[in-house]
């Protein structure tokens, strides 16, 4: 922020394009208190939460099924890796054609953006389960459920938490983009609107708010990782 203000006061950047720190902060305050913002915020949170809570459990469940089956693993894993490398943004117009511009399209695109990273992390998580650890459980008479809960779950937990963290980044990116592209509500729509109307202080404030929120989420998950993984080297 200091650097930002320094650049501005020395006129190294065009002040018409980059608003001042104070201007952005006071806009941020105004925005945070406005009723309109709350409406958009709730819409975005709704999109994010629905997308996330559908994509993560589904992704993990499908990921485990694929990873545990020899046949489906060989067939589907390469396809999933290929699709993962395609930027999901190119599919957005298709989602609009298929689902319109309502709630359903946002969530569908959020899930589509998120699920591949979840699948790939789940494959890695299943791979990280050591066969020695499974043998130990079997030799001491563990049931299938006990093996799932006592060996698979703790073995996979570190990578799955990482999947949750990465999944949210992909989810936010997908949903904000979908809102910016075609939507009546949502923070993405607000930001796109401010940009088109040259409302730079508001635009800066919007970016700031979303950045802070996502960083906080990230840090929270990392805090959980630290807390639950004290046993790691």
């Amino acid at each position: 922020m200091f650097l930002w203000q320094l650049l501005l006061s020395n006129q190294w950047v065009n002040p018409d394009l980059v608003p001042s720190v104070g201007g952005v902060l006071s806009s941020a305050e105004k925005i945070l208190l406005s009723a309109a913002f709350h409406k958009h915020l709730y819409a975005t949170l709704e999109h994010l939460a629905l997308g996330f809570f559908i994509a993560v459990p589904t992704g993990v469940a499908i990921g485990i099924l694929i990873a545990e089956s020899r046949y489906w693993g060989q067939v589907l894993k390469p396809i999933i890796y290929l699709v993962f490398s395609i930027p999901k943004t190119v599919f957005l117009p298709m989602f609009i054609l298929a689902f319109g511009i309502g709630l359903f399209q946002k969530i569908a695109f959020g899930i589509f953006s998120t699920i591949f990273i979840i699948l790939i992390c789940t494959f890695a998580a299943v791979d990280s389960v050591k066969s020695e650890h499974l043998k130990v459980a079997r030799v001491f008479g563990a049931s299938r459920l006990q093996i799932a809960l006592r060996v698979y779950l703790p073995s996979m937990a570190p990578i799955l938490l990482e999947a949750v963290r990465l999944g949210m980044i992909f989810n936010v990116t997908g949903i904000i983009l979908a809102e910016m592209y075609a939507s009546k509500v949502g923070l993405g729509q607000m930001i796109a609107n401010w940009g088109e109307n040259f409302m730079l202080k508001e635009l800066g404030a919007g970016i700031l708010i979303i950045s802070v929120a996502t960083i906080l989420f990230n840090e929270t998950i990392q805090w959980f990782e630290m807390k639950f993984e004290h046993w790691r080297e």
Binding site: K135, V136, R138, V139, F140, G141, A142, R150, P154, W231
Partner: protein, 255 residues
């Protein structure tokens, strides 16, 4: 079960596995009898199938043919009442403390928290790890981890302890100390021990009886009664008798 029945009886065991080139024989005509209370070492070159044989004895792997009875029970699936198993390094659960790792087999059977804690503590003391209950595996040395592993193998008090190259990953010095430690635990508990290794020295130092296996396909090529007196001492390794034992094994497996 009569007292004359052997603790382990393997009859007509054959094992083949499927590879790209068809059926590959891995174990051929294995017949073993082990009396209760004995310390038996299975030694052989790597890839001879000795570890697979142990996994079959533990009920983790089904042989293509033949029967395995441990303490009278057919080992078609693992039976923790009969056999405890100690694996190579890194078989402890890194997310559990030393004590929780030892408790693990008991916790699978929903034994009361207090009972299993006491039992686990008793076993950790037996292997000389009192005071390390709350350490995580990554905070323990290689030798200490294997002690925890031995404690875990014994915690359900099975008559039979199976050990799959448990000291293979340890340095020479720790390996000798652990050997002595294991022998003293064995003297105290009088379990039947089946110990798999590729180390001739380890075999000769620990065993009452050595079963020598050939390179693949694995078959039993020699059985040696070890007549070194007990308790074994480090100095015995430099005796003529010890050297003869090692040489006898070496001559069979060197081809």
């Amino acid at each position: 079960m009569q007292s004359t029945d052997p603790m382990v009886r393997i009859l007509g065991l054959h094992h083949t596995y499927q590879s790209r080139d068809g059926q590959v024989p891995a174990l051929v005509d294995i017949n073993i009898e082990i009396q209760a209370g004995r310390f038996v070492v299975i030694v052989g070159p790597s890839g001879c199938g000795k570890s697979s044989l142990l996994m079959m004895m533990a009920g983790l792997l089904a042989p293509s043919q033949g029967t395995i009875l441990c303490s009278g029970y057919p080992m078609t699936s693992p039976n923790p009442d009969v056999a405890g198993v100690v694996f190579q390094e890194a078989s402890l659960y890194p997310w559990l403390t030393a004590l929780e790792n030892v408790e693990f087999p008991l916790s699978l059977r929903h034994i009361a928290k207090k009972v299993r804690k006491n039992k686990a503590q008793e076993l950790l003391s037996l292997v000389g790890l009192q005071g390390f209950e709350d350490r995580y595996p990554h905070e323990l040395s290689g030798g200490m981890k294997q002690r925890v592993s031995i404690a875990r193998g014994l915690v359900q008090d099975p008559p039979l302890l199976m050990m799959d190259e448990p000291f293979a990953a340890l340095d020479e010095q720790t390996r000798i100390t652990m050997g002595d430690e294991l022998l003293s635990i064995w003297e105290k508990t009088r379990k039947t021990v089946v110990f798999v290794t590729h180390s001739l020295t380890e075999a000769a130092y620990l065993a009452d009886e050595i079963i020598v296996m050939s390179a693949r396909p694995g078959r039993i090529i020699d059985r040696i009664e070890v007549d070194l007196p007990r308790p074994r001492k480090y100095e015995m390794m430099s005796t003529v008798r010890f050297a003869q034992l090692r040489e006898r094994i070496w001559n069979q497996i060197k081809h």
